[in-house]
Symmetry: C2
Subunit: 344 residues, 2 copies
DNA sequence: TTGAAAGCGCTAACAT
DNA sequence: ATGTTAGCGCTTTCAA
């Protein structure tokens, strides 16, 4: 019963010993309630079964949902634990997180909805990190070292706008917070494309509001609420609203109610994300739903897959790729035909 | 420039060397972009700046909020990273998480809203973990080895019920999902105490619904929605409802609307938690708000504080304690006077 | 099939 | 003020 035999048992190389030796080792392990030190294993092997997960704020229900799915598949299917960090979309916080991950020997990291500047990401990759980014597209042209997983945001915008058009709306508006992310502009492009395809009678505006707090929980909803007041007083008023996400749509619904505008009789609203909360609003929110569990699975499989193919000889066996998921419209009660003109 | 000098620099013992030596070491560290390996430090010292955080599901907005506050203070004020795990309130998952934490050398853990059985917790403490539990009370009598941080749930229930009574309600109901946690029964007790104090004319019932899914995101809201249908058809119908948490209240609001019952004209509703989302419902939800940031700070300070006082000689310098925070009623639009009888 | 020994990157006690 | 060294708990090569 030497240390190497025990190490062999711990690592499943049970064929290299007699059955009774295995028995003896196993029962001793059980008797002592022995657990190998991950720190020592890591020091020796350079590996640790852990992933980093960066989110802007875990208090945001959408990121909470994603994080739950990611942690669950990382743990249940791959035996990896998850190190979580809130970044508040702050570059220094992101960089600090990468530094710590590296110091801890964690080389796989998942980044959710960060801002446009990707410089410090590529730097972290140079230092050996394997990174998967959610909700950003690879910069066209520039060969990225990062995997990108996201929903087809163009399609999401298109879906929403054409649903409104199909219901007879002619004055559409895309409602969003300021600050440009690629996902946001893709949504706008899809929205505009659908409006344009519907013919010259359809007008498509973009209404944009600035968030005051740096990164509060309710930031998005607050923006929606303010923008609702602005929209309520617009003449002519748009009758079909597409919100950049469900949270903003919740704010829109509340703000429109405050302003005495009835949804969906006077104005229709569509959200994006497909949070379970969207089924509870009043009226229940029609929304473009994202396939969160599927995306989470792909994200985790990519990090772990590339991690495995990276220590090896022919490094870079799995080149970075981009994964696009299709969104799906969920019809509920917040969309109806626009109000009729008195005389027509 | 020997290893020990470098170690001294790394650990802030800069007084033990000449200024120019320090300079030289520091610039070399910078030039090499050198970062000490946490794994090696940990192997040597037995310490690692990391905390475990167990939540039933991070997709639940309340836990997301708490987790955000906890991670932020752990990181910004104490330089600790957070290892997150979803437990789905499953004992095996909790035990597995403790095992992994121990293997990783993480000795501080925060447990949010776990179920009543605390046996495996005490076992983990025996093995050296420092644990802080949120939303559970210490079992009276039994001297616990665990810190408990929670809101004064009795007071929360009392606050809600007396608010309803003050608005003239006589038929109250506490609405909850089945499954007994200490926090839940405390809330009920406070609710009942307030009702009783209001005199014999006030009736206080408990309406309880079973969740079908094991642990879905929307479990709580679904229960609320179903229960709303049941409550709508009760004769006589309660006029003042206290929900065990905001999520259930959201379901109640949606279900009551489905049933054609107007809130607050026909029925008043009070939630508990104080999620930012409660400001967005229709009508905006009156709720008993928990001081989440303050609680998060106490939680983190306790784990880290006890961790520091634990490796030392006089072990157990900080005996486990219980911290109770006061809730606060936030009045919004979901509470009004009960409907008048036709003839009185 | 089993055992001995080197070494992963640090810290800290002990020289010098 | 600076340097030397043992050892934290493992894995793995090599020898027996």
């Amino acid at each position: 019963m030497s240390v190497s035999t025990i190490s062999n048992v711990l690592n499943g190389r049970t064929d290299r010993m007699r059955a009774d030796t295995l028995q003896r080792v196993q029962s001793t392990i059980a008797a002592l309630d022995f657990r190998p030190s991950r720190a020592a294993q890591q020091l020796k092997t350079g590996l640790t079964p852990m992933l980093g997960l960066l989110v802007p704020s875990i208090a945001n229900p959408m990121y909470g949902y994603l994080a739950r799915e990611i942690e669950t598949v990382a743990q249940e299917r791959h035996g990896h634990r998850v190190l979580l960090g809130n970044t508040y979309r702050n570059k220094d916080k992101e960089t600090g997180f990468f530094d710590d991950l590296l110091a801890h020997g964690v080389r796989g990291v998942i980044v959710i909805s960060s801002l446009a500047d990707e410089g410090h990401f590529e730097a972290a990759v140079q230092r050996g990190m394997v990174m998967v980014s959610y909700d950003r597209r690879a910069t066209p042209g520039a060969a990225s070292l990062i995997d990108h997983v996201s929903v087809d945001n163009f399609e999401a915008g298109r879906l929403a706008a054409s649903h409104l058009v199909a219901h007879g709306h002619r004055r559409l508006a895309f409602v969003t917070a300021s600050g440009h992310t690629t996902s946001r502009s893709e949504k706008v492009r899809g929205f505009q494309a659908a409006a344009q395809a519907a013919g010259p009678a359809v007008r498509a505006a973009v209404v944009e509001g600035r968030a005051q707090s740096q990164y509060g929980d309710s930031e998005m909803a607050d923006v929606g609420r303010q923008l609702a007041a602005r929209i309520a007083s617009m003449r002519p008023r748009p009758t079909g609203l597409v919100a950049v996400n469900d949270l903003l749509a919740f704010g829109l619904l509340a703000g429109l109610r405050d302003a005495g505008v009835d949804v969906p009789r006077e104005v229709s609203v569509i959200g994006m994300d497909g949070l379970f909360l969207a089924a509870l609003t009043c009226p229940a929110l029609t929304t473009v739903q994202l396939p969160v569990p599927e995306m989470a699975q792909t994200i985790v499989e990519r990090v772990i897959g590339r991690l495995a193919h990276t220590g090896r000889a022919g490094a870079g066996e799995l080149p970075p790729a981009e994964f696009l998921f299709a969104p799906r419209l969920v019809e509920r009660a917040s969309v109806a035909a626009p109000p009729q003109r008195i005389a027509r």
